[in-house]
Amino acid sequence: MRQISYAEALNEALKEEMRRNSLVFVLGEDVGRMGGLFKVTHALLEEFGPGRVIDTPISEAAIAGAGVGSALVGARPVIEFQFSDFMTIAMDQIVNHAAKLRYMTNGMASVPMVIRAPVCSGINLGAQHSQSLESWFVHIPGLKVVMPSTPADAKGLLKSAIRDNNPVLFFEHRLLYAQKGEVPDEDLLVALGVADVKRAGTDLTVVATGRTVLLALAAADKLAGEGIEVEVVDPRTLKPLDTDLIFQSVRKTNRLVVVSDGWSACGYASEIMATVMEQCFFDLDAPIQRVCTKDVPMPVAAPLQKAVMVSEEDIVRVCRQVLAA
């Protein structure tokens, strides 16, 4: 099968959905003329014109609000934030409006909107450009949250997100954009809310998301060399969560490690731990452990950044602990 990059896969998804439905449009800073800071909206302006590929002022709050308003009247905005950290400026529109309008109007209104943004840890941009804040949005009823780890998932999930009638937060990762992977040529849809076993195993389950799925797979290879079979589960959609697949895996391996690029406190890992604890407590042979970004803001200098970010070594170490417990 052909191999394309994660960024190319996202770009294909946008093109296909914009061709399929003339109400789909792209809104954001530098998405048109420049094709997006990280090229995900490359060449959309040329094909779809300035009416559907809109370069905005630097106004994140109004961009999100404009997305909500356009969705309320039937358009299907796909918004790009250049760094997921900038969502902090648009939280009112995302959380108080997009997430709640359907409920507040008892189902009268709907907000079919996608907000795409990359987590950019790993390129030495520091504390304001490296955050992985997905857990904030998982916390909020009314939102869906997606975090693909492969080009195929990126394409299939973005297409499903655009067709979904709810606000969807779509988290990409800067370090994944250049990653290549097999992506089928034909129309590819990956349903929201369906997790995926990225590697089957019997001794230990690792639930990892986004960029950390690759690290978990590398860690699994390493441990396989020692005869330890790790099962790597990628939720892909963080909200709604495919708990069944995770429970199944845990009931098989009886041991769980959760990996996330977010911080640990009230993070995505803690939610997986809490859910498994509630449902699979008696299936567990050892305490669940988590591997998260260390509990400090992200520093710039390489050795510091390396110390703070989740690494393959961290995962291997914690897997060994859990197996030893």
């Binding site: 003339s22 014109g49 559907r52």
Partner: protein
């Protein structure tokens, strides 16, 4: 008092083209630097009727203003009786703005409202019974009791919702205009907000975005001189909200918000401009709320004299007098209208009171589409 601002005399845009003609960026820039237009303030002081407004319209506007007034008085009483669920921000005193503005709308037009939204809903023709049912938290309410006073909406009528967040509706209005353009329809979005909201970042970002995309939005600031306990001039720099239009190169106009016909005229002009592709305008309608900030927050820090002074400028009784003086209506007819309004409101109240309280199960529906 004239406000000076600069904006470009724009050529209408061709629909479906993203709102910008080739090379226009540069051209607009030049224009901005060369031209100035004077926008005079129309401040009728409520002394005369406008021309070419039909008798039917006038009577209908009078009726709607009375309907809003009575509706709010009824909410006030229902709250005293402990029947209102949550809070409500009464529109009493400001009726001329909603009625004058919404009378300039086409059926396909859209609006966004605020926490003080009953007037906009009624002026737009929402059902007073279903509105009241919502405020009482009943199943027949527009939101089945989930939204309450601050979230009444009727998307089928283009009413995209009241909003509990000050300034929250402004970017939504801009987005609605963006969506309408994308769909190729020529509807205009009416964006209501208070003068307090004009200090929110969302105001600035939204007006700028609407202006550069030349979107069909009419920004209608309801300046009732107070934002909760904050007097306008103490928290708002620049002297007027209309004056801020200059920052976005759009027309800004200050209007007597207690004069329904003056509001209608100003909004009609702004709407014409928006619909023909010339972009947004900012209208500042000066008025006053007679009641406390909300039925929750009744503490009054405004000077009693100021309140009385504004009650002298009652938009309804003033209009009534004017209509009679100008022989546009007889007091009999107006009385008929008033009793008709009273009847409608008591029917609405009956309807709302008799509507069932929602079943708790419904609390768990409609989070997702």
């Amino acid at each position: 008092m004239p406000f000076t601002l600069s904006y470009a005399p724009l050529t209408p845009i061709r629909r479906g083209e993203g709102g910008r003609n080739p090379g226009e960026g540069a051209r607009m820039r030049r224009w901005f630097l060369d031209r100035k237009f004077q926008i005079a303030v129309t401040y009728s002081g409520g002394n005369k009727l406008q021309d070419d407004i039909s008798r039917e319209d006038r009577l209908d506007w009078y009726r709607r203003m009375c309907l809003i007034r009575k509706f709010e008085e009824e909410i006030y009483n229902l709250n005293k009786a402990g029947l209102v669920q949550g809070t409500a921000h009464l529109y009493i005193g400001m009726e001329a703005i909603a009625v004058g503005a919404c009378s300039a709308m086409n059926s396909g037009d859209l609006l966004t409202s605020t926490h003080r939204g009953h007037g906009h809903c009624i002026a737009r023709g929402l059902d007073t019974g279903r509105m009241m049912a919502e405020i009482l938290g009943r199943v027949d309410g527009y939101c089945g009791g989930k939204g309450g006073s601050m979230h009444i909406a009727d998307v089928s009528r283009g009413m995209l919702g009241a909003d509990g967040i000050v300034g929250g509706g402004i970017p939504i209005a801009v987005g609605a205009a963006l969506g309408a353009r994308l769909k190729g329809d020529d509807s205009v979005v009416f964006c209501f907000f208070g003068e307090g909201a004009s200090n929110q970042g969302s105001f600035h970002e939204s007006l700028n975005l609407a202006a550069v995309r030349r979107l069909a939005v009419v920004f209608i600031c309801e300046n009732n001189l107070w934002a909760l306990s904050a007097p306008f001039a103490e928290v708002t720099a620049g002297g007027s909200v209309a004056n801020r239009a200059g920052a976005y190169g759009m027309p800004g106009e200050k209007v007597d918000g207690n004069d329904v016909e003056a509001v209608f005229k100003a909004v009609t002009e702004a709407t014409r401009r928006a619909r023909s592709g010339l972009g947004p305008s900012l209208l500042e309608c000066e008025s006053y709320r007679w009641e406390g900030h909300s039925i929750f927050t009744r503490q009054e820090i405004r000077p009693e004299g100021e309140i009385q002074q504004w009650k002298q400028r009652d938009p309804i009784s003033r209009y009534r007098t004017r209509l009679i003086e100008a022989k546009a209506a007889t007091s009999d007819i107006l009385q008929q209208i008033e009793s008709q309004v009273a009847k409608q409101i008591s029917q609405s109240t009956e309807f709302a009171k008799s509507s069932p309280v929602p079943d708790s199960e419904s609390a768990f529906q409609h989070t997702y589409a």
